[in-house]
């Protein structure tokens, strides 16, 4: 009876859904959007130019889209779990054959009004797919050989398609997203430990198979001063920018490293560097806190969800976002080799923002429909 009333209560009206919104999460996302806009404005040299305009339009459009997604019942997202995965995989295949080549890799597909990077979408849809896969599975079946093999194939297939683009960074991030779901689904922790050991042991062999430019990145990471004007340039300039920011930063629009064009790729992967130079340690920590609140809210939403699918997706997505952030920051702070990985929402780039906003939308949908059971 009790359940019944709850179920009837869940017969959501439009305003009910609005009331169920996680406003803290929403505010944090909007705040992040605002900060990213301001930073983009700074990369344009304090003028409203192409990047700022484009970023603003994308931000508006994708935020609306996120809100729209959150009104759609979580059941729907459960139901399209496999389908969306298959669609994105076919997009990757299509990209492999007909994609646009830019700076040596074939990552984009031309959709006339926007150049889409399907590999970015895969970061989210692999979570959706695996969450659906493990949703109904009994815990004792999770560690069966069949399950593990199937889930590995689900992960390795898009990874392979992205590696051949070639885009090592994104493929690693796809793998991380997938593995996060496997971890939460309860696959024996021994497997993770073994895999990790295996990876460390095989690392030298992997390096042997890397492309020369990838090898160079690893070597540069180990010793950036070896070639300060060549391969080490990015990381050295990035560290100078961050370090020179100091406690309170050089001030908005006063980041000399960026506006004098010493910073490479300041719109995309190195956007945090610019932010950190202008707003200093305090600003950087504030930005981190916003990210942490977002992740915390995502996990809280997962914890409060009744359905296992929603939990898995939220936890998985939370972990993935966390990894995206830490990898990007570690990279620009010189803790990891340079791999192409954008900072969610902050970095310029439509596909990444689209994927992240879809993720936020599904999480919000899970919140709005938190009492929804999925059979």
């Amino acid at each position: 009876m009790y359940q019944h009333t709850r179920l009837t209560n869940n017969n959501f009206g439009f305003f009910q859904k609005f009331r169920n919104f996680d406003y803290i999460l929403l505010i944090c996302i909007l705040l992040l959007g605002f900060i990213s806009l301001a930073t983009m404005y700074s990369t344009d040299g304090g003028k409203i130019l192409f990047h700022t305009k484009s970023h603003f339009i994308k931000l508006m459009f994708f935020t609306m889209m996120m809100l729209f997604i959150s009104f759609i019942n979580i059941k729907f997202w459960f139901s399209i779990g496999y389908l969306s995965y298959i669609v994105v995989v076919s997009l990757l295949v299509w990209t492999y054959f007909f994609g646009i080549t830019s700076s040596g890799s074939k990552r984009w597909m031309d959709l006339y009004f926007i150049n889409l990077q399907p590999s970015e979408l895969m970061k989210i849809f692999i979570i959706l797919c695996l969450a659906k896969y493990f949703h109904r599975m009994k815990l004792e079946n999770v560690n069966s050989v069949y399950t593990i093999l199937t889930s590995l194939i689900i992960i390795l297939l898009p990874m392979g398609l992205v590696i051949v683009q070639p885009d090592l960074g994104t493929s690693v991030l796809i793998a991380v997203s997938g593995i996060a779901v496997l971890w939460f689904a309860g696959i024996n922790h021994k497997y993770f430990i073994y895999t990790m050991l295996g990876f460390v042991i095989s690392l030298p062999f992997v390096i042997a198979f890397l492309k020369p430019y990838q090898k160079l990145r690893v070597l540069t990471f180990l010793n950036p001063d070896k070639d300060p004007l060549g391969a080490g340039y990015q990381i050295i300039q990035s560290k100078i920018a961050v370090g020179s920011g100091g406690i309170f930063g050089k001030g908005f629009l006063k980041g000399t490293q960026s506006y004098l064009e010493f910073l490479p790729e300041k719109h995309t992967d190195f956007i945090f560097t610019l932010f950190s130079e202008e707003f200093g340690f305090v600003g950087s920590v504030v930005l981190l806190v916003i990210y942490i609140i977002i992740i915390y809210r995502i996990i809280a939403i997962g914890a409060n969800s009744r359905s296992y699918f929603a939990k898995l997706f939220c936890y998985g997505f939370g972990a993935a976002i966390f990894v995206f952030i830490t990898i990007n920051m570690s990279m620009v702070l010189g803790l990891l080799p340079i791999v192409g990985s954008p900072l969610p929402i902050m970095s310029y780039g439509g596909s990444s923002m689209l994927a992240t906003m879809i993720g936020f939308g599904i999480v919000m949908s899970a919140r709005v429909h938190s009492q929804q059971l999925i059979a």
Binding site: W183, F184, Y315, L335
Partner: protein, 624 residues
């Protein structure tokens, strides 16, 4: 249902446990990132701030303003002028080709000059300055200014540059400046520090010797630049210091007269204050215009100077090594007196020639002078007399006295790197240098200033000055410097054993100029205010053969390179002397006819200028 719900509980337990593990892991990673941020932005902030400034701030040095040279009266003899230049920054020019051809027309550039400009343009970055013209005339400069409306990106610039208002008059004293080359930069630390493209540095003379005082310090412009090195904005302008202005002891009027007297001749004139050692004039002829070198001398002009048979590049006052000829006689006589070889009554009979050690030595006067005493021998410059006393004296004692009076040694130490020592021979020298024993015959000819002996005109001037002042040591100088206040310990110490001997020599020199039969009698001045005493000299360039002696040719009948050098040393006024001079005219023939008349003109001016010079001195003291 129970099964499935218990399975659900298990699944929930599992996922929550794993979430907790993940959460803890995230916490540690976050701590890691924050501490990395802290390390970079707080702990290492200074280091990265410096690196960031190094990235963005670049200094541009501008050429420093060079110190000037003034003469004793404050006239500028090496100054600075505003050179009109034309600069173009290629990237600011919309249509470079159009502008450069337009400039070619307006400036009337020759094809080779035009090619040079185009070549320079290729060597520089598009935002760097291209100097189209170094030194434009006012006409062309104003013409350009009138056409600026269709010469976008062309900048008329006024730049400070070296200028020598007296053209060739002072070249051998102050030298000249020209573009610094690699050697200059390598050898002088200060040039390296101040170097900017187009910097001009002293190449020779005092311009070179005092480079470090003259050079000054750069103006520095600090600009913010972007990653490609383009200037974004000026941050600072730091005014440099002008180089030190150096005051010389020379008198422009006398220097100009020296130039005039030696016009079209090769030779040297120098004038010195016999008490202070101040050089009043120092000229080597022919000279050349140092202004030609400031913006780089053209090949044609350089060839003209280099190939001139009179050797304008040679500083004859300091570098020219001449046999002193008879101008050495005062020293020979003094040495003989000092060493007690002779006294004033010692007499020799001159028959025109004398046989010594199976050799015949001729006096310049074929008929001979008859019986001559020391005073008459000096007055008439009788060679036979000096053969005899040199023989008695010996070369070692003679060289000792000669050296004491400043011969055979650099007069200015290291002030002029080109200055030569000259040579005062003695027996030891010949053994060391030539590995042969000294011959007595060589002593004989050294007695009349021929043979191995070589002196520079400045040494002769110093020698004369030290005889004139009563035989006291002085240190010649040409730059008035604070260092001068500390006098060397032997400054003005006596060089004689008996001051009477100096008086005897002075008296003999007086006779030589002011008494009938004196060699320079015709150049005398009777007015005691200007009256001077001197000694002529004629230095043989080659040995005179018997045949030539018989022919007894006139100077004009001998080829130029074989004519004798004419020398003259003098000091004046005779009563209360103040100035000494030495004159050398290369291949001038005869000291008494060529060199001595110049001294007459010089002394007139020198003594007229004396009071003006003194008044400047007094004013200086009043100012203090």
């Amino acid at each position: 249902m129970i099964n499935s719900s218990s399975d659900n509980v298990k699944k929930l337990n599992s996922i929550n446990r794993r979430m907790f593990i993940t959460g803890s892991l995230k916490f540690f990673i976050m701590v890691g990132i924050v501490s990395r941020l802290f390390f970079l932005q707080v702990k290492e902030n200074k280091k990265y701030l410096t690196l960031s400034d190094k990235n963005r701030i670049r200094e541009w040095k501008l050429a420093p303003v060079r110190g000037e040279f003034h003469d004793y009266f404050g006239n500028v003899i090496a100054g600075n002028f505003e050179a009109y230049q034309l600069h173009v920054i290629p990237e600011q020019v919309e249509n470079f080709k159009y502008v450069i051809y337009r400039l070619k027309d307006l400036l009337e550039l020759s094809d080779s000059e035009f090619k040079k400009v185009l070549k320079k343009k290729k060597e520089i970055k598009p935002w760097e300055t291209l100097i189209v013209s170094n030194n434009l005339s006012w006409d062309k400069f104003s013409k350009i200014n009138n056409h600026l409306y269709d010469l976008n990106g062309v900048k008329p610039v006024i730049s400070i540059s070296r200028n020598y208002p007296f053209d060739e008059n002072f070249t051998h004293i102050i030298g000249y400046v020209s573009q610094a080359n690699e050697q200059d930069i390598e050898n002088t630390e200060l040039i390296k520090k101040n170097f900017v493209p187009g910097l001009k540095v002293g190449k020779i003379g005092l311009e070179k010797s005092f480079e470090e005082k003259l050079i000054g310090t750069n103006d520095i412009e600090r600009y913010e630049v972007n990653a490609y090195g383009r200037r974004i904005s000026q941050l600072e302008f730091q005014k440099g210091k002008k180089g030190q202005t150096l005051k010389l002891t020379v008198d422009t009027e006398i220097q100009k007269l020296a130039n005039e007297l030696l016009k079209d001749k090769a030779g040297s004139i120098c004038v010195m204050d016999i008490f202070t050692g101040e050089v009043i004039a120092m000229h080597s002829s022919p000279s050349f215009d140092p202004n030609l070198f400031v913006f780089g001398i053209s090949q044609d002009n350089w060839q003209i100077i280099r190939n001139d048979p009179m050797k304008p590049l040679l500083n004859k006052t300091l570098q020219g090594r001449y046999s002193p000829g008879s101008t050495l006689k005062p020293i020979v006589a003094l040495s003989a007196l000092e060493n007690g070889i002779i006294n004033t009554n010692f007499t020799v009979r001159c028959t025109g020639k004398t046989e010594l050690y199976d050799q015949t030595y001729h006096c310049w006067k074929k008929e001979g002078h008859g019986y001559v005493s020391l005073r008459n021998a000096m007055k008439m410059s009788c060679d036979t007399y000096f053969y005899e006393i040199a023989r008695k004296l010996g070369v070692d004692k003679l060289s000792e006295t000669a050296k004491k009076f400043g011969l055979g040694k650099k007069v200015f130490d290291n002030l002029f790197e080109i200055e030569k020592d000259g040579l005062i021979p003695n027996t030891q020298w010949k053994k060391n240098a030539l590995g042969k024993g000294w011959l007595l015959g060589e002593t004989i000819i050294t007695g009349i200033g021929q043979g191995y002996i070589q002196t520079t005109p400045i040494q002769l001037c110093l020698m004369t000055a030290q005889i004139a002042n009563g035989g006291y040591k002085i240190y010649p100088k040409i730059v008035i410097d604070d260092k001068d206040k500390i006098k060397p310990s032997d400054y003005y110490t006596p060089l004689y054993k008996n001051s009477r001997n100096i008086k005897i020599i002075q008296d003999a020199m007086f006779g030589s100029t002011n008494e009938v039969m004196g060699t320079s009698y015709r150049s005398r001045i009777d007015d005691p205010k200007y009256q001077f005493a001197g000694k002529t000299g004629t230095a043989q360039v080659k040995k005179i053969t018997e045949r030539e002696r018989e022919l007894d040719l006139k100077t004009s009948e001998i080829p130029y390179e074989q004519r004798d050098h004419a020398l003259y040393i003098a000091y004046g006024p005779y009563v209360n002397p103040r100035y000494a001079l030495s004159i050398v005219v290369e291949h001038g023939g005869n000291g008494s006819t060529t060199a001595a008349p110049m001294a007459k003109k010089l002394f007139k001016l020198i003594i007229d200028r004396h009071e003006i010079r003194q008044s400047i001195n007094e004013k200086k003291y009043l100012e203090i």
